[in-house]
Symmetry: C2
Subunit: 193 residues, 2 copies
DNA sequence: GTCTATAATTCGATAGAC
DNA sequence: GTCTATCGAATTATAGAC
């Protein structure tokens, strides 16, 4: 029990508190979006006082910036199967989306908040485009191909995890990979139509 | 000038005021999302007093319900070209998205608000699924195919009109139709993978 | 490091005069 | 039909005690 700490000492370390705040923030931003996720609720979830959030992150915007740092961990092209890169990418993103609240949080905030949209664009430009550039036959066309791939990945994420269209929710992972894989593959490597 | 109306008469008709409110509401909801679109701002845009909004629509939720009524106007399958239904649908939705704020408003609110998500699901079930059922070879699979089609349409709409990925914004309509058309066509009519 | 108290806004919603 | 005035609640953010 942390309450057994010596008198005068911190109840818990600064690092642990900050991590607890970030965890709670990620969950709240993912569940409620930027406006409805209040600092009070986040602090309550983290079991600390709202003023601690301000102390550590300055303001709500700073908190979101810290909580929405993200690495998509897109596999390097060399590690992907030569055939079925599209399917492998779809599978990777399904994994990430189901195991990391930050993706949903970033998407929800990006749709409602101008600063959030800017962050999503930065992730797209910094992490998606370079990988696509390493795959597609015409690197100068990588941004456009990356946008096409992202549109399909984002669209399925919204249908399945945010809007919760029943058919999109009940579809098995395998079905989604089988349907979306060829689409992504085509966006990556097909000749321009 | 409406101020020349006879003493005691309304400055403008009830219908005109209500329409002005709905127009302003659609714009605000589309631009700011549900939480940030305030009744005060909507009333200011419409050039009336905030209390009029309450009088006509009861509360904010009622206002959004009225402002987000929408008909996707998806063409009946018979009127679509036998070959290139996918392309025709993509073109239709690009048109709708560029000429009707309600689509963006509904999408923005659906992502942040539970009631908004329910409305999007209702539009999906009521307008998208039936059309797909009239096109696809196996009507019992229409909901799933409709979800796949919607995921690609919604994803491009978000990338182009909400998140504003530069490549998605600068792409020409023709390019989008050429790239997404075959995808939608496959989701509609291809055998299950 | 943690918490109390509170300032300063802002919002949705209501009551009532004209 | 329209507007003024305002209530009550909720929010971010700050100042300062312990």
């Amino acid at each position: 029990m942390t309450t057994e700490a010596p008198a005068g000492g911190p109840r818990r370390t600064s690092g642990a508190t900050k991590a607890a705040i970030l965890d709670a923030a990620r969950e709240r931003f993912a569940a409620d979006g930027y406006e409805r996720a209040t600092i009070r609720a986040i602090a309550r979830d983290a079991g600390i006082d709202p003023s601690m959030v301000m102390r550590y992150y300055g303001n709500k915007e700073g908190l979101f910036a810290a909580a929405s740092e993200i690495d998509l961990r897109i596999p390097r092209p060399e590690t992907l199967p030569a055939v079925g890169m599209g399917a492998a990418l779809v599978e990777h993103f399904l994994d990430r989306w189901e195991n990391d609240d930050v993706l949903t949080a970033l998407l929800r905030v990006g749709v409602t908040n101008a600063a959030g949209a800017e962050r999503v664009r930065a992730v797209f430009t910094g992490q998606m485009v370079p990988v696509v550039a390493g795959i597609c036959p015409d690197p100068e066309d990588a941004p456009r191909r990356a946008a096409l791939v992202s549109s399909q990945i984002l669209g399925m994420a919204i249908a399945r995890y945010v809007l919760c269209f029943p058919p999109a929710v009940t579809m098995s992972r395998e079905d989604i990979v089988d349907w979306l894989g060829p689409t992504v593959q085509r966006y990556l490597t097909a000749e321009r139509p």
